[in-house]
């Protein structure tokens, strides 16, 4: 397979549930080596899209191919190349954590015992506890281990960190970064914790009402927006600001914070000078970009 052949290719994918379109003519390509953040409000179609990629759902219209194979017909040749952390974290509650790890690892000749041992230690997983008796956070950690233990080429994480505490989330991000450092690993993360996601992703997909409304590199998306803080060097700020494409403006005692779309840095600097203001530039966090995209 050539390096640039998409891992997942979706064309005009449509899926209805009870007559309502959960996905509406979605087009998407997941290229190898990308770390993609799949964002969107609840019910926007993220999990449905993911489930089509692994052949769990069948499309009503359109095509979904994964590793060059129709997702519906994915076989044991392609599926072991995928690691999937399921949103609901359904596991086998009656097994102990150790039994479950051994059970899943038995299917994978390439199971990485070293990674498993390190992960169990770092994440403090109680191997002797019944899976059903683990806390939601522990269950999620175990789900992640089961998804990464066989070192898949394509890792799909559907809400992987929602039940983790801040320390565990930080550990999880470190782990992701280590996985990312290995070449050609592709990761798709669906999450609502945007502050975490933005630390690792290089590509963003934002969904709304079954449509993809944004699909581009994270840096490109970030460059589209800018926050500036103006501090008046004179008496007060003028009533009329000279800036264009202002998305929001908050003024307070000789200071103003503006969010701008498609900013031209040099032009903005000149405009700030013209009204006798000092200017500070702040890139927008993903959470704010997300809010802007969703409200536009």
């Amino acid at each position: 397979m050539s390096d640039h052949k998409p891992i997942v290719e979706i064309k005009r994918l449509t899926k209805y549930f009870s007559g309502k379109a959960a996905l509406n003519a979605v087009d998407l390509k997941v290229l190898p080596g990308r770390i993609i953040g799949l964002l969107g409000p609840n019910g926007s179609g993220k999990s449905t899209l993911i489930r089509h990629m692994i052949g769990l759902y069948l499309p009503d219209n359109g095509i979904c191919t994964t590793f060059g194979c129709d997702a519906e017909k994915l076989s044991q040749r392609e599926l072991p190349r995928i690691g999937y952390v399921h949103q609901e974290g359904e596991l086998l509650d009656w097994m102990t954590a150790e039994q479950l790890i051994r059970y899943v690892s038995a299917y994978h000749p390439g199971w990485n015992r070293e990674l498993e041992d390190r992960y169990v230690n770092d994440f403090d997983i109680d191997l002797n506890a019944k899976v059903g008796a683990l806390s939601p956070g522990q269950r999620q950690k175990l789900s992640i281990l089961l998804a990464i233990g066989h070192v898949p080429d394509f890792l799909i994480l559907d809400e992987p960190a929602s039940a983790l505490d801040p320390m565990a989330r930080a550990q999880f991000l470190n782990l992701l970064i280590k996985i990312i450092q290995q070449k050609q690993k592709t990761i798709l993360i669906s999450s609502h914790i945007l502050s975490d996601v933005e630390k690792v992703i290089d590509h963003v997909i934002i969904m709304k009402n079954g449509h993809i409304i944004e699909d581009q590199g994270f840096d490109d998306l970030r460059d589209q927006y800018l926050r500036i803080r103006l501090t008046s060097l004179g008496t007060s700020l003028p009533e009329e600001m000279p800036f264009e494409r202002v998305l929001s403006c908050e003024r307070n005692n000789g200071q103003a914070v503006l969010t701008l779309e498609n900013p031209q840095i040099e032009t903005i600097k000149n405009q700030a000078e013209s009204i006798d203001c000092r200017i500070d530039f702040h890139p927008l966090p993903l959470e704010d970009i997300y809010k802007i995209v969703m409200s536009s």
């Binding site: 489930r51 399921h86 359904e90 086998l92 509650d93 051994r102 059970y103 299917y107 059903g132 008796a133």
Partner: protein, 368 residues
């Protein structure tokens, strides 16, 4: 709104509760007629279990422990229901003026005993003991074709004795329901109650119970079983279908060995309450017996499909493997259920063989 009024809503607000009330009414009507008296008492007993379950649900709400008067009101629910049953039965009974008061007194005694036994099975601490008593009564009851005659005879012959014993037993159970020890024990204890069809809540309930039982030595699949199946899966890694078939066999056999207590109790519960024709001597209801066996196997099949697809996303496998895993699951589960049914029948024969001569002064199946 007063606590009692609020709590009473549980008796009419949910659509499912009306089905339970209907079963009670059928039980009472059957008791008035000449047919199947033992089944009517079983229905009333089952109704007691349902009301006990509601009461337990009310007592298990964490806020209930501190809420002034709430415990007392929750305790009054089974009492009020018992009063309602008595009134309904009395009204229906005295519509026919030929009936004698003494028969009424004896019958009320039997109804009360059945009802409160159902309540106590669910609520009190010694519920394993009460459950065992409950099962023994049901199984003995069902295995003896003369029970109807004995029950018809008892309220007339020993009316006041039955009423007296039943009064004391009912009062003791009523006290036990609202006892401080019982209320403390039930507070915040997970309870499914009437929402057992809600899968999310069911999962939470099961996990909460597992967490609570962590201190006890957990049941787990034996290492030899685990190792046997793991080796089989590993050795068939090249033939993934075979590996998955071994894997599914492991899950189907391994799971019951972990839950054997629950499965044993739950299985007898289901058989005892819902599959009674299977336990009745074959000469009485051969067709019903076959129907019930078929019903149990069909419902096992349905449950298998449901359980299997609930965990379907756990391993990423192709549709072909899913299909064959499903078939293996269904096959092994039906084998287990069949084995269980045979065990249940043998167990009921054994119990009734020992107890029928003591309780009914005759051997099981013999005519008076």
């Amino acid at each position: 709104m007063k606590p009692l009024t609020a709590n009473l809503k549980t008796l009419y607000q949910f659509p499912r509760i009306w089905l339970i009330h209907c079963i009670l009414m059928i039980g009472i009507l059957m008791l008035l007629g000449p047919i199947l008296i033992k089944l009517s008492l079983l229905f009333i007993l089952w109704y007691g279990v349902a009301i006990g379950s509601i009461t337990r649900g009310l007592l298990s709400k964490p806020f209930a422990f501190c809420l002034s008067g709430h415990v007392k009101e929750a305790q009054r629910i089974p009492l009020l229901v018992w009063l309602a049953i008595t009134i309904v039965y009395a009204l229906l009974f005295f519509m026919d003026l030929d009936h004698r008061y003494v028969l009424f007194v004896g019958s009320i005694g039997l109804i009360s005993l059945s009802y409160w036994l159902g309540v106590v099975v669910i609520i009190t601490k010694g519920r394993y003991i009460s459950f065992a008593t409950f099962l023994i009564i049901i199984l003995t009851f069902l295995r003896n074709p003369n029970v109807n005659k004995i029950i018809e005879h008892m309220p007339l012959a020993h009316a006041w004795a039955i009423a007296f014993v039943s009064g004391i037993v009912s009062y003791l159970i009523y006290r036990a329901v609202g006892s401080k020890e019982n209320v403390r024990r039930l507070c915040a204890m997970p309870w499914l109650g009437s929402v057992a069809t809600n899968i999310e809540k069911q999962n939470r309930f099961n996990r909460e119970r597992m967490r609570m039982n962590q201190n006890h030595k957990p049941d787990r699949t034996s290492p030899s079983t685990e190792s046997l199946f793991s080796k089989r899966i590993r050795s068939n890694q090249n033939s993934t279908l075979l590996a998955h078939l071994w894997g599914q066999a492991y899950l189907t056999i391994g799971s019951p060995t972990n839950y054997w207590r629950g499965i044993l109790i739950g299985g007898f519960w289901i058989l005892g309450l819902n599959c009674f024709p299977l336990l009745i001597p074959s000469s009485e209801t051969p067709q019903q017996g076959v129907g019930v066996v078929f019903g149990i196997l069909a419902s096992t099949g349905g449950a298998c499909i449901f359980i299997y697809y609930r965990y379907a996303v756990f391993l990423l496998i192709s549709r072909k493997e899913h299909l064959w895993r499903g078939v293996v699951f269904l096959f092994t589960a039906i084998l287990i259920v069949l084995g269980f049914m045979v065990m249940a029948i043998l167990f009921s024969n054994l119990i009734s063989g020992v107890l029928c001569p003591i309780i009914f002064f005759c051997s099981p199946g013999s005519k008076i």
